[in-house]
C-alpha cells in the first residue's frame, strides 16, 4: 500500500468533551485497525487507509457525538515539510484550528439541542424556493 492511498485525519476534542485525549487514543488503539495513531495537543491524529480511518472516526465519534470533531489533513503526521520542529513557525493550518476551536463549545451545544430555523436569504435563492420553482417547472 503506497502512501498516496493513505489519508490523515485530525480528531479534535471540543472544550465540553466528556472524554479525555488519552481515552480517545486508547479507544483508537482498541479498535485494532492498521492505523498510525498519535496523540496531539488538540486530540489525536490518525493515518492509514481511508476505509480504516473512516471506521475509526465513526467509532470514536460515538464516545461523545456532539463534542468530537474531525478534520482532514493534507500532510502525513510528522511530515518535515510542514513540521514546526524543523523550520520554526507553525503550520498555517494550525492558526486556523486554534481560531475555530474557540467556537467548538457553542457548536457542540447547537448539535446537542438543535432548533428548527428558517434559512436566511442573502440575496440568493434558498433550496426551498429552488425546489418550489423546480416543481412548478415540472407541471
Amino acid at each position: 500500500m503506497s502512501e498516496e492511498d493513505k489519508v490523515t485525519r485530525m480528531i479534535i476534542l471540543g472544550p465540553a468533551a466528556q472524554v479525555s485525549q488519552s481515552q480517545v487514543v486508547g479507544e483508537l488503539h482498541m479498535l485494532e485497525l492498521p492505523l498510525t495513531i498519535k496523540s496531539t495537543c488538540y486530540g489525536a491524529v490518525v493515518h492509514g487507509k481511508e476505509e480504516d480511518v473512516l471506521t475509526a472516526i465513526r467509532e470514536i465519534r460515538k464516545l461523545d457525538p456532539a463534542n468530537i470533531f474531525t478534520k482532514d489533513r493534507g500532510f502525513p503526521p510528522g511530515d518535515p515539510r510542514r513540521c514546526r520542529a524543523k523550520r520554526g513557525g507553525a503550520r498555517e493550518g494550525f492558526h486556523q484550528l486554534e481560531k475555530e476551536f474557540e467556537l467548538l463549545g457553542f457548536v457542540g451545544e447547537a448539535l446537542e439541542w438543535p432548533e428548527p430555523v428558517e434559512i436566511k436569504k442573502h440575496g440568493k435563492i434558498s433550496p426551498e424556493d429552488f425546489k418550489k420553482i423546480a416543481e412548478e417547472c415540472e407541471k
Binding site: R87, G88, G89, A90, E92, E98, K99
Partner: protein
Amino acid sequence: MVKIAQISCGTDYSGVQKEIEKAAATFGAEIIIPEADLDYINEAYQKFGFNAASSSIRLMIARAMSLVEGKSDADAVFIATCFRCAEGALVRNEIRRFIQQNTNLPVVTYSFTERTKADELFIRMEALSTIVVRKSILAREKQEGLTLGIDSGSTTTKVALMENDRVIGTGWVPTTDVIACSQDAMDQAFADTGYKIDDVDGVGVTGYGRLTIGKHMNAQLIQEELSVNAKGAVYLAGHQKGEATVLDIGGMDNKVITVNDGIPDNFTMGGICAGASGRFLEITSRRLGVDISELGPLALKGNFKDALLNSYCIVFGIQDLVTSLAAGNSKENVAAAACYSVAEQVYEQQLQEIDVREPLIQVGGTSLIDGLVEAVSTVLGGIDVIVPEYSSHIGAVGSALLVSGLGDQMK
C-alpha cells in the same frame, strides 16, 4: 550557517519555494520562518497599522514584528511577494523599511512569478550571505599594499591596479573570451607601472565571469558585483559613512543598490529590456554618426522636450529617433531625448522599486555619458548625482579594495 528569515506571501503557491531554498543553500544559508502565534499576529498587525485584506500578508507583518521585537532570531531577511500584487508590493516595502529602521539585519526584497528560478535568486542570496559572513571585509575603508581588481562584466572587462589607497593603473576591453580579455585588460593596467602580476599582494574578481577568471587567476576574493560595486562606489565617492544609492546602468542589466555605512542593504537588478540600458545609447550614437564618448556632451547641448520619443523599445524607439532627425530635429535634441528616455525607463522599471536615498552615486561605463547623468537627475526631481573618478571601473576598484582587506587577514 547563515539563517535567512523568509517573510513572504505566495511563494508556495507559485511553485518558487523550492527555488528560494535552493538559492539559499547554494550560499551556505538556510531559510527559517519567524515565529508568530495567532494572538501575536493580530497584535502585531494592529500595532503596525496596515490593515491588509489578505491574512497571509498580515502574517508577513507579524513575522517582521517578531524579528524586530527579538522574538525570532535570524542573520538576514528575505522579503518576497507575488509580482503584480498591489497589497503585497505595499507591505513588502513597508516591512522592509520597518526592519531596516529597527534592526541591523541585511534585507533583500523580491517580487516573483512562477517563472522565477534559483539562478535569479542566486546573486541576492549570495549578497545577503556575504554581508553576514564578510561584514568585517565590507567594513574596510582603505586599500593597502598592491592589489589587483578584475570586473569581468557581460559587455566589458575592467581591471584596476591599486597601491596604498590610490588607483595606479586601469584596463578596459570589450568582453569576448573571459580569460583572454582579462589578460589584455591587465596588460593595460600594468603598463607603465613597473609592476607585474607576481608583485601583487592579492587579486579580487567580480562580475559575470568571476568564477571562470577567479579560478584561472587563483583569486583570493571572488565576489558578486552587488556588494563589490556598492563598496567601490562609496569608496570612490568619498561617502563611506551614511546613506547613499548606487546606480549602475549597464550594458545588459541595471543595478540599483542602497547603502548604509558602506554596507548594501537593498538592491534591485533588472533589465531584460535593451531600451533601458546602455545598449540603447550605443545604437543611438551609431545612428547619429558620433562616437559614444561624444554623445554625452552632445546631449547636454540639446533639449529632450523637442524630440520626444513615443516608444521605449529599442526597435521602435530608434525608429522614432530616425523619424525625428528626418523631420529636421537637431542631433543635440535627439541625443538628449535618447538619454532622457533611458533615464525615464530606469526610473519607471527600477528606481521606483527602491527607497532612493541621496546622494545618488552613478557608476559604470554609462556614467561617463554626462547627458545621461543629467537626465537621471532631472527624472528624479533634480537630486544630487555624484559621478566619482574611475566610475567606469567601479567593480574593479571595489575588488582591489576588498581583497586588500582579505590579504591582511591572511598574513
